[in-house]
Subunit: 210 residues, 2 copies
């Protein structure tokens, strides 16, 4: 506390500066992952974080703003996961592209509730939540970069179509796999292998002649 | 009415046999398409259908059962839309496959709220709602059939991977396009053309050598 005294409220709200905001986001995420987004309320989040009912309103206008912050955190984690996969894949752009697709699908399947929250239709409209917009846009760049490296010298139209196809396939597989719906067709127990098999169905995903 | 008399209740509930069930499904669908699934309650549906508050419970155990019936109707309409596209596409299996993908994406983009409802994660678990299961499974068959016709003599593994890839790509594009998210990459104003361009990125989607 600024004045160094112990006040009763300090026992319930031991947060300052960014600490409270992060704690609220963590509490909202835990509730959303356990009960779904509908289980989240600013009241329940305040209780879970051990702060006063009024405290969340210092940081979030309403429940949707708090959920948007959770979604933004999800997109930042997705980007980090993709970059880690790309780095581990090494120098071949086709291997990197397949690793990125597997990373995308694996992220969704490992965190289905978070991925669904990130997918909330209202959160896709640019301009509604600035930090979320930025995190979402940046999360797609590793895929777009890998596609561009697989198609050096290709026309913009060709690159764009390939990029949209890779993203659509990875996104669809992420949704279907996280719901367990592809299980009748594909062995999801080795998700990297399953994603590799599907992404290889795209012309772009293997080196010419490979 | 069977006996030809006008009874007071007949003014509020002019339904009999399957009529009431269909009216409740239609009312629930209209509310879900306007306000989202969260706006649906058996009370609101009863009011919209002009029947007593108790009437919905004769047909549906709870709100989820009613929404599952709306989702099942959606999958039956999806199947009908796909079959119509397949028939219009004519005899070439590759053209038919691309037309089916375009039909899938077009269905989702034309009815985003219904498609999102059909996508409800809890509705994907087999066994929860029998009629929904059947309608969902049947809706995928036109795509699977077209893939098989594009790959005569192929191994089962090859057919299955191609089928899962087509479905994943179409599904991902359907979700992304219905949220408007692919708009930055692809011109969604001609959705058939856009889908055709993406589906052609798959090895399977064009005749060998085409």
């Amino acid at each position: 506390m600024p004045d160094g005294t112990m006040r009763p409220t300090a026992l319930r709200a031991p947060y300052h500066h960014g600490g409270l905001e992060a704690a609220l986001i963590a509490a909202a995420r835990a509730i959303a992952e356990r009960d779904g987004p509908d289980g989240v309320s600013l009241r329940a989040v305040a209780r879970a974080a051990g702060v006063s009912q009024a405290a969340p309103y210092h940081h979030f206008a309403d429940k949707d703003a708090l959920l948007a912050a959770v979604a933004a955190e999800g997109f930042r984690e997705l980007r980090a996961a993709l970059l880690a996969r790309a780095e581990a894949a090494g120098g071949d752009p086709f291997e990197r592209l397949r690793a990125l697709a597997a990373g995308y699908v694996g992220f969704a399947r490992a965190r289905p509730a978070l991925f669904r929250l990130m997918e909330t239709p209202a959160f896709q409209r640019a301009g509604a939540y600035r930090a979320l917009d930025a995190a979402r846009q940046k999360s797609y760049l590793p895929l777009a970069d890998a596609v561009a490296e697989c198609l050096p010298g290709a026309s913009r139209a060709k690159r764009v179509n390939a990029c949209a196809a890779v993203w659509s396939l990875a996104h669809g597989m992420a949704i279907l796999a996280s719901d367990g719906r592809l299980g009748g067709l594909v062995d999801l127990s080795d998700l990297d292998k399953a994603t590799d098999a599907l992404i290889r169905q795209l012309n772009i995903a293997a080196a010419p002649g490979a």
